[in-house]
Amino acid sequence: MNELVVSAAIGVLTGSGMWLLLRPRTFQVAIGLSLLSYAVNLFIFVMGRLRTGAAPVVPAGAAADPSLYADPLPQALVLTAIVISFATTALLLVVLLASRGSSGTDHVDGSEPD
């Protein structure tokens, strides 16, 4: 059941993100990319062999059995991906505003289609 909910959530986010990405207004494109990056972050997370009730950190000194522990790597990957997509989205917003300011329109081509 959980799998279904999570994969449906990723699917809805990806679908909405894709649709917005293909829209002609710059703000829609920015939001679309944000939604897509949420979907991708969730995707990385669930691809990382999730398990419940297991600690990610092995205690010092103990020769622990790795199969009893959760894999901490996907969290690290997601964290990095979140930071990077946050920064690039911020950059895109700046360019979006610059485009709006210099062309006077929020169309992605910088001019309204005739």
């Binding site: 990056s37 691809m47 990077i84 485009s99 992605v108």
Partner: protein, 520 residues
């Protein structure tokens, strides 16, 4: 660890440090910034030469960041190909920085910082042995390139950058999806470990793994400018300022490098039981890119767009040659990669000098004049001597044209000839090879036509024959890059042998894999 072992991380640390220092230095002390940036890039060239020398005996330098053992920690790996690419990026970076000293460094804030961060990301992408780390370095150089594409601002740059950034952000998301699929299938992101698992058939979910590899490939191909994922490229490269565009000439090569590295290392056709399913598609896509670039070169009405479409021609040639995938052809393609990157970089710099001082719209005027057969008052121009700068620019333009079209006697010819030779060498030449041979020759021919037409328009029949004001410091990097082309021609033997060995090592990656995994 000795001091020599730390050389492997210098191509990343050096630009990082230079970029950080130039970020702190006040914007008004531009001379100091430029000095730091130039010194760092000269040192980077030196490091590149040393690394190329160290890997010349086919040794693989493995650097464990944080000293964690190989499949768990992140490793940097220097082999022949990485060292050659680092050196190439460093040389282009130096030329571009020198060019910017005259004008462009003042056209916007933090130019030197951005160039240094771009070089850091590019070098990191060439050196890293970890898939996620590759993503991080891709983002580092892409983010720097977004800002550099905007350098100098202005409406056309903002518009082109908006497309450039959007497409590349979407491609980066595909990159992440591919990486996470591969992690789900194999449980590791270390490239050598993936190669070992793939070769031993130890990958648990083969379909998932191949899907991840395919999605990863799409992300790289979008960055390498493969048709039909390349429509952002001509606009962005043509709109970018000259030094930025000269650096961008190496960015599309990073995509090609990633395809080559990953395609041979852990999705390699010759190491798996069955051939990689994407290979025929990649050949087709490479040829498509080549054809599209060729048409674009012919249709370009101004020089920046001509240069941008030449990037596509170069990318298409490389992708098709790599995808056909025998080691001899890959070696020839690598030689072509180096030569075409240097020539394109020189051409991007030259275009700005040639176009300087022209009336906006002069290109359209020239083309419409041609279309309607309007002859100017030619009698007025008789007896007017060609001034020295124009003559020098013309010579450099001709040299660029010869390099890019692949005419003898310069290195472009050697690269193309080596590829044709490798294609026609085998006993039975397949229809694919013949098609690629035909496309290569046609693309060279159309490049000559386009360059000759543009050259005649600019230098002999220009509607506004003003002499461009060119400073020595701007012309010097162009001369430097063209001299490098001549050097590559004269010393073609050693370089071709070096790159051929690099290609052999790519197609038989035992040394790479063992080097990374056995290091304790």
């Amino acid at each position: 660890m000795t001091a020599q072992d730390h050389l492997a991380i210098l191509p990343i640390v050096l630009p990082l440090a230079a970029g950080a220092i130039t970020l702190i230095v006040d914007e008004r002390r531009l001379a100091l910034k430029a000095a730091i940036s130039l010194v760092a890039s000269v040192l980077l060239v030196a490091v590149g030469i040393v690394l190329a020398g160290l890997t010349g005996d086919s040794s693989v330098i493995v650097y464990r960041v944080g000293d964690w053992a190989a499949p768990f920690g992140i490793v940097l790996v220097v082999d022949r190909l990485s060292a050659a690419m680092v050196l190439l990026a460093a040389v282009l970076g130096f030329a571009s920085l020198t060019f910017s000293l005259a004008r462009w460094q003042r056209a916007g804030p933090r130019f030197h910082t951005l160039v240094q961060f771009l070089l850091m990301g590019v070098n990191g992408a060439f050196l890293t042995g970890d898939l996620f780390n590759l993503f991080v370095f891709f983002e580092v150089f892409l983010t720097a390139s977004y800002a550099l594409a905007l350098h100098g601002s202005g409406e056309p740059r903002v518009r082109a950058s908006l497309h450039y950034i959007t497409v590349n952000l979407a491609a980066s998301l595909l990159f992440l999806i591919g990486v996470s699929l591969i992690y789900a299938a194999a449980g590791t992101l270390n490239m050598a470990d993936l190669a070992r698992q793939w070769r031993e058939g130890a990958v648990a979910h083969r379909a998932l793994y191949e899907t991840g590899g395919a999605i990863l490939g799409i992300a790289f191909l979008a960055k390498a400018g493969m048709w039909p994922l390349c429509f952002w490229l001509p606009g962005a490269y043509a709109a970018a300022s000259a030094p930025a565009a000269a650096l961008f000439a190496v960015l599309s090569k990073v995509g090609v490098y990633a395809i080559l590295r990953i395609g041979t290392l852990f999705l390699g056709a010759d190491v798996a039981a069955s051939p990689s399913p994407g290979t025929p598609w990649l050949v087709l896509a490479g040829m498509g890119t080549l054809a599209y670039g060729t048409l674009g070169v012919l249709a370009s009405q101004n020089l920046p767009r001509l240069a941008s479409y030449s990037v596509l021609v170069s990318s298409g040639t490389l992708l098709a040659a790599i995808a056909i995938g025998n080691a001899a052809l890959t070696g020839a393609a690598l030689y072509y990669l180096v030569v075409s990157a240097v020539a394109l970089s020189a051409f991007f710099l030259l275009v700005e000098l040639v176009d300087r001082g022209r009336r906006p719209g002069a290109d359209m005027l020239a083309v419409t004049a041609e279309a309607f057969g309007a002859e100017g008052d030619d009698e007025d121009d008789i007896g007017e001597s060609i001034q020295a700068p124009t003559a020098l620019l013309g010579l450099a333009f001709a040299a660029c044209a010869i390099m890019m079209a692949g005419l003898p006697p310069l290195a472009g010819f050697i690269g193309k000839f080596a590829m044709l030779h490798a294609l026609l060498e085998s006993e039975t030449v397949s229809i694919t090879s013949w098609t690629l041979v035909a496309l290569l020759i046609v693309s060279g021919f159309t490049t000559i036509i386009a360059m000759a037409r543009a050259g005649v328009r600019r230098f002999w029949a220009s509607p506004d024959a003003s002499v461009p004001h060119v400073l020595v410091v701007e012309f010097a990097p162009v001369v430097l890059l063209l001299a490098l082309c001549v050097a590559l021609t004269v010393e073609a033997g050693p370089l071709a042998r070096y790159l051929d060995a690099a290609a052999q090592a790519l197609h038989a990656p035992d040394r790479y894999v063992d080097g990374v995994l056995s290091k304790r």
